[in-house]
Amino acid sequence: MRLSEVMMMETVTLTPKAQPDLYIDAENITPDAFAGKTAEEIAAIHVHEGNQTGLLGTYFEVSGKGGATAAETKIVIKGDVLRVKYIGMRMTAGEILIEGSADMYVGAWMEGGRIHVTGNVDAFSGTGMKDGELEIDGNAGNYLGAAYRGDWRGMQSGTIRVHGNAGSDIGTFMNGGTIVIDGDVDVHVGTHAEGGTIIVKGNGKSKIGGQMVKGDIYVFGTIDVMMPGYVYRENVDLEVDGTKATFAMYEGDMGERHGKRKGQVIYGHIYQKY
């Protein structure tokens, strides 16, 4: 049997009804939690509003049902969920489509599957991401794809793509994976990175690649202030996410400890498009 014959995709639709007074923590809005459940069972799943425990069904009209597994479950959220945090947290497979904007921590620590947001997301989206895909049609807030506070193990793998702008501190302590921002970014990009790729197609500000020991940052637009710990090496012709161009290649951050491979010191790289 082919995979397509085995997989039976089911869709759960969540339509926001009551706006919570406080913000709700909805780490259970995941294909993993919804799999194998009926609409009624899904409506009975817990969410937290402040220190009170409530039910998903209080805030959403639930229709459809979960698939047999997370991979066979798609969740569609109809409209803005500006007071809902942690959608898709730690999901391992399946799909979430948010037709609107969401609050913080969308796809935080996600391990697989795909999240697509047609509006904006607030801070900490894709925090500690291990794998999977996160696509934002609008803007993303601060700390996109960054490590959790205190942790030195940030984004490991997977892809984050933002079609608008992103805030500050994206990709902090990044270890792997790719973040692509079509628009501009605020300060602190790839701070402490030990791997991974960040592509900024708009403009950067300052503190790009600060304390980065390994990894690649591409900036297509301007950089207000280059970190003093970076040294220009050479011009290189590259194709980056479909764009062919000449880039100025810098190595750094010279203020940091760097590993070696085959006798060669490994640096972080910043590539700025001409």
Partner: protein, 569 residues
Amino acid sequence: MAEYLIKNGFVFDPILGINGDKTDVAIKDGKIVESTALSNPKVIDAAGKTVMAAGVDIHAHVAGPKVNVGRNFRPEDKLFTYEAGNGVKRMAGGFSVPTVFRTGYLYAKMGYGTVMEAAMPPLYARHTHEEMRDTPILDQGAYPVFGNNWFVLEYLKNHELENVEAYISWLLRTTRGYAIKIVNPGGTEAWGWGLNCNSIHDPVPYFDITPAQIMKGLMEANEALRLPHSVHIHTNNLGNPGNYETTLETFKLFEGAKANNDFGRKQVMHHTHVQFHSYGGDSWGNVESKADAIMDYVNSHDNMTIDLGCVTLDETTTMTADGPFEHHLTELNHLKWANTDVELETAAGVVPYIYGKNIKVCGIQWAIGLELALMAKDPMRVFITTDHPNAGPFFRYPRVMKWLMSKKAREAEMDSLKWAEKVRDATFLSGIDRELTLYEIAAMSRAGTAQALGLSSMYGSLKPGLQADVAVYDYNPETAEDPELIEKAFGNAAYLFKGGEVVVKDGDVVSNGNKKTLWVDVKVNDNPQVRRDVTEKFLRYYTVTEANYEVNEKVFMKNPYRIEVDATQ
């Protein structure tokens, strides 16, 4: 108060010499009594279960400023660990540096009733007591650190032992402390100069005395003061390949010394987390276990006790008053580092550490911790600890017990190490067939620790008259074969009685108990010089006044429990 009769359990009590016999345990008015003293007891059926006195932990870092630095600078340690409040329990979380609530709950779930905070910086005694006050259930005490204290160094340099004694008396009373802790004697003071004392004969900068003189002097003062506990030592050169020689040299300082006290304590010196002090070789490439040499010495000298400091192969947070060591560690693992100097007294550092199964040295450390216990001839002198959280979190004790009680379990762990064969080559563990009995485990986790702390009249046994701290574990020693049952049972006590009250039932905390904080009030002859020196040091050097230094027990303590000693003779 309710009366209880715990019936038909398999009782293990090294003090009473009960080795698994089915014996009833009677509780009345918070104490253990003869069963004939009961009139209308509630009967607890312990048939098929193991019954012991509640556990007594002699060394863990569970309260105070460096523990809190660990909590503050490791938010990631708390991630996904929080549990909402439920019943009598408050919200609690954290892994290697849990909140005070989680600390109390998890110890209670393991059937522990008493936990000693192993290093209290005197200047921050108030903070330490505030945290202990807020730690539910557990009886606690804290050891102020003395080994780098300017008063001690000056008096010892001048051979003024009486002044050392008077100062210890003053400090224990002022900080509501329990015992004399010594951490990297002289080395932590040297760290203030960017230096260290790597051997017990390295002179301390400015003070010009040696770690050996500090340790020996404090031991003599301890015995002159007739304190309940002995000096509690973490010697120099911790965590370095080849350091077992420093450890043996330290042990030898106490040769021939005799304990002097009215508390039933037999040792003159307790050395803590000996695993970190038992390394051979001269680099991380050839480091090897010297547990054999260490235990040969310990086994043949009954005036000392040790605890293990078992590595549990977890991600954890190291924290110690051994400031230079933490700097050394952050240079090794490149993880974040906190460091502080505590004026006139000590220092501290904190660094996260991952004991990985794919790192050879971590496997060797894991093996050494277990070897020390498995080579012990007298389990009343060798105690189970993980130097929480330095070698692993305290809630792994049930796992350590499983490894100690089952060769099969530790071989399975050994086989799961990436460098199993290299670890085997550098250690003795796989060649040891011994499996500890529950009787020996009871000695290493309650009877022996209570005795070494000078608290055998309160804890560690089920002898009538003792505080009714009793643990019941759902473990049948006659039928249990799967070693996993050990870990499960000892991590989820069927019952914990604390002061005669049920605080844990079926692995769940049902009461916050009525914790006590123990401290030692040792009376010495009036010593005007020390009084004058204290006043002068506060005026000249301390950034706080004497009045803002002392621990007011009404404000900072819950149920202070004063242990009086008269050393005026």
